[in-house]
Amino acid sequence: MDFSDNPEEAAFRARARAWLDANATVRDGSEKVQDHFMARDAAEVARARDWQARKAKAGWAGLTWPREFGGQGATPIEQVIWNQEEGRYAVPPNVFLIGIGLVGPTVMIHGTEDQKKTVLPRALTGEDIWCQLFSEPAAGSDLAGIRTRARRDGDGWVISGQKVWTSGAHYSTHGILLARSNPQVPKHKGLTMFLVELSDPAIEARPIRQISGGASFNEVFIDNLRVPDSARLGGESEGWKVALTTLMNERFSISIGRATGGARAEDLIALARRVERNGRPAIEDGEVRARIADFTARQRGLEFTSYRVMTSLSRGEAPGEEGSIGKLLLGRLRQEMGAFGMELAGTAAGISAAAQDDVARWRNEYLTAPGNRIAGGSDEIQRTIIGERILGLPPEIRVDKDVAFSEL
C-alpha cells in the first residue's frame, strides 16, 4: 500500500504542473460554479477550443490515444494525474470529453481508414466537438429500444427520428448516432451506427431547460437526413456492438474523471461556522456535526475508491469491481449535501437572489444532483449492473429479447 506517486508518476506530474503553471491560473475559489464538461455560451465554447488547441500543440491532448492516431501513448494513470492537475486551474470546461473519450476510441476500433483520418485529428485539436445521439424519448435505460429509423436509399441512407438528453448538441459540430436499420429482427440486432454533421439543416437541436435553470442538454430532431454509406460506423446491423464500445469508454472516462465533483464536506463546515442554529454557531450543534461527519466519511470513501481504481490502472489492469460504486453513491451524496446546505443556510435558501453566493451554491448543488443519478445509467440500472455482473445474480426476465422489434 502506497499512496504516493512512483518516480515515473511523480515526474509526469511535475511536467504537467510546470506546463499548467506557465499556461493557466490556479483556481482561487472565486470562480462561478461551472460544469466541468458543459459550456454555458458561445464565448465559453470559444475559450474551450482555444485551450484545447494549445494543449494539443503542447502534447497534452488525447493522452491515452495511441501515437499512430496523434495521441501521446500515455498510460491511464497519467491521464488521471493530468485530470487531477488540470482540475486545480481555472480552465474552460472540457467540451471535448465525448469526442476524445468516447467517439475517438470507438472510431479507432470500428472505423474505416478514411474515418480515422477525418475524425481523429480534428477531435484531438478541438476543431470538432462531438455529441452522443443515443437516448430517445421512448428509450433511455433500454437503449436498444430506439426508434430513429435509417433506411437504405441508393448508395446512402435516410435517417429520421428524435433524440433527447443530448448534452452539448447545441454547440456540437458532429454526432455519433444510433439508428434502427432493420425493425424485422430482435431489437439488439437491427441497429446501425452513423457519424453525422450537426450543421446539416435536416438536424435541429433545441436546448432543454433543466430544473437547475441551465440548458446543457437538448432534444434533437432528425428529419430525412441524407448521409452517404461512408458515414456508417461499423457494419450494418452491428450498431449495438459499436454502441457497447462507446458505452464502455464512457464508463471508463467517468471512472478516471474527478471522483467528487462539486461541493466538499469541508464547504459545509465553512458554512456551519458562518450561520447560526438555535442561537449559537451551527458548527457547535450536535446534529449539524453528525451530518457533516457522515458526509465527510462518505465523500472520503468515494475519493479513496478512485485511488483503488487508479491502482488497477497503475498496474495496467482494467478498473475493478469497486469502480462501479462511485456513480451510484456520488449522485445521492451530492443531493443530500445540497439539501443540507440549503437547510443550514436557512429559510433564505429557497428564495434568495443569486447574489447570496452561499445560498445559490447549495441550491445549485441540490438542483443539479438529480441529473447525476440519471445520466450515464440511472441508479436503478447501476444497481442491476452490480447485482448481475458483480454479484452474479440471475438476470431479469426479458420478454422482448427474441421478438422482432416491429412485433413489440
Binding site: S4, D5, N6, T296, G301, T311, T384, G387, E396
Partner: protein
C-alpha cells in the same frame, strides 16, 4: 500509487483463509454461542501455532515483525470467519499499547506470551460515559487503581487488563493491572454476542503499573489504530454476510424463479455491496495512514470507522430480512452476523463518538 496488496500479502491472506476455514466454522460459532464460555480456544491456539498472533510483534519479542497491513489482513479474515477470539483487545489494543508506550521490561514480560497464545490482555478502556480519554473517571493514586470499567471483553479469560485511568494530576493514562490481584471483581454481563464474553470490572485499590509513554494523545492514536484494524474485521464480517445472502437468493425459488432475479432483492444486495466497498476504500486509506504514520490517521480512522459501522449494520440486518423466515431462526446463520456486528460496535464505541472525533479534527 499502489492501493492494493503485494503478492506476499495475498499469500498471507490465502493461508489465513484456509486456517480459519478449518478451525472457525459457522458450526463452531453456533456452538460457542450456546456454550457457557464463548471463547474459541482451539482457533486462538491454531493462530498462535501458525505464528499469526505475533504477526506485528518484533522478532526479539517472539513475533515475526510484520506491519499494519498484514495485521489488517488477519483482522479481515477473522471478521470473515466469525472466530470467537479476542482480536481487538489483544492485537488491536494491548500489543500496540505495550509496544509504543510500555517499558522494555513490560515488552519482554508480556509480548512473547501473547505471541504464543498464553497471555490474554483485556482492554479495560471504556466506562459508562464512553471510550474517549476525556471521559475516564477511574483513578490511580500511589499505583493503586479504583474505578469501574465496562464493558470489558474476555475479562474472565485474561491474565491482565490494559486500563485507562487518571493519574494523580488528573491526566488520563494507561496502566497494566494483574487481574488475579487484590480488589478485582469481575461481573459477567449479558452481551448480544455471547461468543465474545463481556464483563464489568470493579477495581478497588488494585496495584497497577503505568505504561510510561501513555498520555491522552497517545491513547487517541492507539484508538485510531485499533479502529482501522476493527474496520477490516467489520468488512470481513459484512463481506461474508453479503456472500451468504447472495448464495441464498440465487438458490431460493419463488414465483417460479430465483428470488435474486427480482429487483427488489437484487438492488438491496447491490446497496450492501456499495456500502461495503465504500468502507473498504476508507479502511485501505486508514491502514496506509497507520502503517506510514501519516498525520491524517485521526481523520482516516474516523471515516473508516463510520463507514464500516454503517456497512455492517446495513449488511447484517438485510441478511436476516433477505433470508425470510429462516433468517429469523436461532438455528440459521444470519443472526450470528448481526450479533458480531454489534459486538464490534461495542468494542470501540458507536458512531456518535467517532463523528465528534472527526469533526473535532476537521473543524479545529
Amino acid at each position: 500509487m499502489n492501493f492494493g496488496f503485494s503478492d506476499e500479502q495475498d499469500t498471507i491472506r490465502e493461508t489465513l483463509t484456509r486456517l480459519l476455514g478449518d478451525h472457525a466454522t459457522l458450526a463452531v460459532a453456533h456452538d460457542r454461542l450456546e456454550a457457557a464460555e464463548g471463547f474459541d480456544t482451539a482457533t486462538w491456539a491454531a493462530l498462535a501455532e501458525g505464528g499469526w498472533l505475533g504477526l506485528a510483534i518484533a522478532e526479539e519479542d517472539g513475533g515475526s515483525g510484520m506491519g499494519a497491513v498484514e495485521l489488517a489482513i488477519l483482522a479481515e479474515e477473522i471478521g470473515r470467519s466469525l472466530a470467537a477470539v479476542p482480536f481487538a483487545p489483544v492485537l488491536g489494543l494491548a500489543v500496540p499499547a505495550i509496544q509504543t508506550m510500555g517499558t522494555q521490561a513490560q515488552q519482554k514480560s508480556l509480548l512473547p506470551g501473547i505471541a504464543e497464545g498464553r497471555t490474554i490482555i483485556a482492554a479495560a478502556l471504556c466506562e459508562t460515559g464512553g471510550l474517549a480519554p476525556g471521559k475516564v473517571t477511574a483513578q490511580v493514586a500511589q499505583d493503586r487503581l479504583s474505578g469501574t470499567k465496562t464493558p470489558v471483553f474476555f475479562a474472565a479469560e485474561a491474565s491482565h487488563a490494559l486500563v485507562a485511568a487518571k493519574d494523580e494530576g488528573g491526566t488520563p493514562r494507561l496502566w497494566l493491572a494483574d487481574l488475579s490481584g487484590p480488589g478485582v471483581t469481575i461481573r459477567a454481563l449479558d452481551p448480544i454476542d455471547g461468543t465474545r464474553p463481556a464483563a464489568e470490572i470493579g477495581f478497588e485499590g488494585t496495584p497497577v503499573e503505568p505504561l510510561p509513554g501513555s498520555d491522552p494523545a497517545a491513547i487517541g492514536a492507539l484508538l485510531d489504530g485499533a479502529a482501522v484494524l476493527a474496520a477490516f474485521e467489520q468488512i470481513g464480517l459484512a463481506g461474508r454476510a453479503l456472500a451468504l445472502t447472495t448464495a441464498y437468493v440465487r438458490e431460493r425459488q419463488a414465483f417460479g424463479r430465483p428470488i435474486g432475479s427480482f429487483q427488489a432483492v437484487k438492488h438491496r444486495l447491490a446497496d450492501m455491496f456499495a456500502k461495503i466497498e465504500l468502507a473498504r476504500s476508507n479502511a485501505f486509506f486508514g491502514v496506509w495512514a497507520l502503517a506510514s504514520k501519516d498525520g491524517r490517521l485521526p481523520e482516516a480512522a474516523a471515516v473508516a470507522r463510520l463507514t464500516a459501522l454503517d456497512a455492517v449494520q446495513f449488511a447484517t440486518e438485510e441478511t436476516i430480512q433477505l433470508h425470510g423466515g429462516i433468517g429469523f431462526t436461532w438455528a440459521a446463520d444470519p443472526h450470528l452476523f448481526l450479533r458480531r456486528g454489534w459486538q464490534l460496535k461495542a468494542e470501540l464505541g458507536p458512531a456518535d463518538a467517532w463523528r465528534d472525533r472527526l469533526l473535532g479534527n476537521l473543524a479545529s
